[in-house]
């Protein structure tokens, strides 16, 4: 079933491991992304994006009730039962080891490991996954301990020179890594547009496979995801801005693409953005004009690879 619902393969996922997956709609466009962890021989926990949780749940039910009623699998939401927190950064393991009854190390919990843990006597789940690009873990305990666990994690993080990080910081961290959200997978983009064509398995059938192969969806003229950094006098970038070739007039018919996410990266010392640009993969290094009429922004950008930082993922793997 997971092989059918995700475009990439899950049947090879070992117990105690997590895998990132991409889901397409029947029409071949990207529906959602997320991770699925194999907790037991026939027991998986799937995460979706917050925005599409309901849509994915209905999608799974549709598969089980209509497309493959012969499959003997059941799906149920456990979102509310668990309080789950991301612990990210170079000291994340040290922080967790102050709480876990059995300390972990890099060998027992490599990147993408998952399993049951005991936290101050309470049974929970630990996933070594990262949406920040750092060495990171997600720790889940039954929701009744959520308040207490968060306070405890925060106090320990502050003791190690860290602290709580919110949605804005998370957004900057993931833009630096070129990780997508529903700002990017807005219902009109394909796996090819995202540079994720490699996640469309050729070895099995999955939802959206046939329609994703339509000429219009694999056309190299389509807009593809790129990174942007400011090179003009104006250093501000904004989501919702449109992109134009510097020599063209700023008119609708010359539109080359649009910006989906933007934020100030303290690491880079300037704003960075993700967006979609016609033939973007062939235009890395080119100059592009970013225009946001609503906010009055008009600036020149360099088109760059969508991963701004640590493209090899060495920090994530610790």
């Amino acid at each position: 079933m997971l092989d059918f619902v995700y475009s990439n393969t899950f049947s090879t996922l070992k117990q105690g491991r997590v895998r990132y997956g991409l889901m397409l709609r029947e029409d071949g466009f990207v529906m959602d992304d997320g991770t699925t962890a194999r907790l037991g021989p026939n027991h998986y926990v799937m995460t979706t994006t917050t925005a599409a949780a309901g849509e994915v749940m209905a999608h799974l039910e549709f598969i089980l009730q209509v497309l493959h009623p012969e499959w003997d699998a059941r799906a149920i939401s456990v979102t509310e039962h668990w309080a789950q927190f991301a612990v990210a950064g170079p000291k994340s393991r040290e922080l967790l080891n102050g709480l876990l009854d059995q300390p972990i190390d890099g060998d027992s919990w490599p990147f993408i490991a998952c399993g049951e843990v005991s936290v101050l006597g309470v049974k929970g789940r630990l996933f070594r996954i990262s949406f920040s690009g750092e060495e990171a873990y997600e720790l889940a305990l039954p929701a009744c301990y959520g308040d207490s666990l968060f306070r405890s994690l925060l106090a320990r993080a502050e003791g190690l020179g860290g602290g709580a990080y919110g949605m804005e910081a998370l957004n900057v961290l993931r833009i630096e890594k070129g990780f997508i959200t529903h700002a990017e997978i807005n219902g009109t983009v394909t796996a090819h547009d995202l540079g994720m064509a490699g996640m469309l398995s050729k070895k099995k059938a999955f939802i959206g496979q046939a329609m994703a192969a339509r000429p219009g969806l694999v056309d190299p003229e389509r807009m593809q995801m790129v990174g942007l950094k400011p090179i003009g006098a104006v250093k501000e970038l904004s989501a919702g801005a449109h992109l134009f070739s510097p020599e063209d007039p700023v008119e609708r018919i010359f539109d080359q693409g649009y910006v989906t996410s933007a934020g100030f990266s303290p690491l880079m010392g300037h704003m960075i953005a993700l967006g979609f640009l016609k033939q973007g993969v062939n235009r890395i290094g080119d100059e592009i004009r970013l225009v946001d009429h609503m906010r009055g922004i008009d600036t020149l950008c360099e088109v760059v690879e969508p991963v701004f930082f640590d493209p090899e993922g060495e920090r994530t793997r610790g």
């Binding site: 059941r74 149920i76 509310e80 039962h81 006597g121 305990l141 009744c144 959520g146 308040d147 405890s152």
Partner: protein, 182 residues
Amino acid sequence: MAELLAKTACAGLLPLTVGGLSLSESAPAALTTLAPYRGQEQALSKALMAAHGLGFPAIHASTQGKKDARAIWFGRDLALLIGPEPDSRLAQHAALSDQSQGWAVVELAGVGAAEVLARLCPVDLRAAAFPVGASLRTEAKHMMVSISRLGEDRFQIMVFRSMARTLIHDLKTAMEAGAARG
């Protein structure tokens, strides 16, 4: 070594009394969804009877077992076991999911309880349509709820844990409006 403190879903919010009606938190020890595998409903029902003294509930119904064990209908091919930790043998027949902390479980009691719910829910909860023992999934002010009739004037209402405060606010408002009418 520090300890983790457990908080129930309605901690600090309940109990409350308005007129002749009371609202209190039940916080059962365990909640487990029972999703039978294909063709296993009867076998699951037998296993439930042996372990907990109750059968798999029919649509819109509930069953009562040993001690505080109850099972309520919880959706298509789905039941919720309330009270005991599920016997491990049930796992042969159904997918069991621990939902113990996922729901806020409250009890509304007193004469006029059905009228209070009528202000929030689009279904008929009068005794003729919804007798003692009945259980259904509906909505209360756009929140998905499970409602069970425990007694003539006693209802169990469940919402997702994160919506506890909103449910209690809406119930309290409805209770006050009902009481104001006299």
